[in-house]
Symmetry: C2
């Protein structure tokens, strides 16, 4: 049976999220983090059902803060709260049957201990959903890849070839495993993720996302002083001169900025690229910053026919991610 | 005392080369390799004196093959024959006094054992020249850098951040050591060297060279099937959007191709970027290939006032390098 990972814009059964409780990560802003996660869940629930997984003993709190309009809370052991990276990556076969690829997870190169519960949670989720699991021994987070569902996967060398992930695998072996597990036939390697994205070592979902087959959205800072000003232009050059699995060149949509805000005394970059495609919607992290409006307009133009919704995610950014990082789609059974 | 590395086009006292004898590297083509090294030495000797260092017992052979027109042979213990990478990197102070930086050498990430004689040869050369040595504990080959002599150094991440060189140094620490030892104030990081350049892990001297302050020559394959077609365009985007230490943008000269030839049954890429700037000359590796002529014309235009000379270097390429890799300039005392 040959499975392939559907593009994020394909119809979903729903969305998985994980409830944040980790004091060493959130410190003074844990309460605000929970509020923002709940706002993201409510925004997505306008488009599709959300399952919020909370660690044992925290389900009641999660339910109280999230509300019950389209959000179901279940309890499973968790270490952290970034389901893009620790939840299963769903794939489908030609008949629409689903499976979930359970890649290994090591907390982005052993950055936050423990991570064993997050490494095990994919299997528990799949068991609960009644979807068969496909285990991979490669370390991979979902935020490190974006696919078009038609054979193309885009990733970054900065993350996937970082020695803290799979030091014993060559680039060719990493590519072969991506192709085998996710049903892609071409991998486009961008050199860079975000320089300031030290939590993930440069996940692609901070800098580039597929918008449609043959069409990508990229981060392209307009300010020459931005640390990624040159790097993102190198990424763009790769996309300009590459073709996808079907031989098509890429149409490229530029998002010209990210917002910098201060959260609990820390300068924090809120990247607009880290959005989630819900059924009929685009849920975008915003920063209560003058740059929000322009980014939302670019994304509205890039996703015709979808409702674009901004959700304040400054504290999520402080924690190391955005809306995309804290969500994982479950494709519909006959996607 | 503050030293800086002069640009390669600054006046030389002469050129250092090392005589090839290593059977495990050259195999069937050792004799042809020696012929090509000798031809390179004779071409450079038309412009400046050449000192050919041969391993003990090989001096007589080297002298016999090279001839004595401007070429002096001396014997010193050697492992291999790539003085761009194992010889000292010369620096000068404001009064024109010279020193030689003796970086550590580990055979391009422990690829060819032994390498202890090559690691020690810089100290012996400097002692013989009566030039003071500055020892650095960082592993660095001269082929991994190009400088404009006015504060700017260009290198590649592929090589300098490769875990087989200085795995315990961060990017910031590598930059700090380059600045301290070579008197540069800005490091421009290109993502890539040549993909096929597996011997050096992508030295910059295969893909980019300073031609003058504010002016660089880059490899830019015209053939979309070339493995570096996209990668070199990412490099070029970095240069297009960067400025040098003086705040100048870069004028970029493209060399549109390398030549592929077969040497002893191995498909071998002869890159035209790996040339040496002698006093008044540019000594360029060529391949007896139709592409030679175009590359020489581009370089003649890029270096007005210099005589451009092509020297057949197919076997040198088979061994892993070009004219630049097998040479090292000694700046004139009051450069």
């Amino acid at each position: 049976m040959t499975y392939r990972m559907p593009a994020e814009w394909t119809e979903h059964q729903g969305c998985l999220m994980a409830w944040p409780v980790r004091p060493d990560l959130w410190g003074n802003v844990l309460t605000e983090a929970q509020q923002e996660y709940a706002e993201v869940a409510r925004a997505i629930a306008e488009f599709e059902p959300v399952t919020m997984v909370a660690p044992p003993g925290h389900g009641e709190q999660a339910a109280a803060i999230c509300g019950d309009q389209g959000i179901t809370v279940v309890e499973l052991p968790l270490d952290d709260s970034w389901f893009r990276d620790s939840a299963p990556i769903f794939v489908v076969d030609a008949e629409g049957n689903r499976a979930g690829v359970d890649f290994r997870f090591n907390a982005w190169g052993r950055k936050h201990s423990p991570w064993d519960a997050d490494d095990r949670v994919s299997a528990l989720i799949l068991d609960r959903l009644g979807v068969p699991a496909i285990r991979s021994e490669m370390i991979l987070e979902g935020g490190a890849i974006t696919v078009d569902g038609e054979g193309t996967l885009i990733t970054t060398e900065q993350c996937l070839l970082h020695p803290n992930r799979n030091p014993d695998m060559t680039r060719e072996e990493v590519e072969a495993e991506l192709k085998a597990r996710l049903g892609v036939t071409k991998v486009v390697w961008l050199p860079y993720g975000g320089l300031l994205d030290t939590e993930t070592d440069g996940h692609v979902d901070g800098v580039c996302a597929f918008a449609a087959p043959g069409k990508v959205v990229v981060q392209l800072p307009a300010d020459p002083e931005h640390p990624d000003y040159v790097r993102m232009r190198a990424n763009r050059a790769v996309l300009e001169h590459s073709t996808d699995a079907q031989g098509r060149p890429f149409e490229i949509v530029d998002v010209p900025q990210a917002a910098f805000v201060e959260v609990d005394g820390k300068r924090t970059e809120v990247g607009y690229l880290n959005y989630y495609l819900a059924n009929g919607g685009v849920v975008v992290p915003i920063a209560d910053h003058p740059a929000d409006e322009g980014a939302l307009a670019v994304l509205a133009a890039a996703y015709p026919g979808r409702k674009v919704v901004g959700v304040r995610a400054r504290v999520v950014a402080f924690g190391g991610g955005g809306v995309h990082c804290i969500t994982q789609q479950i494709p519909a059974a006959r996607a």
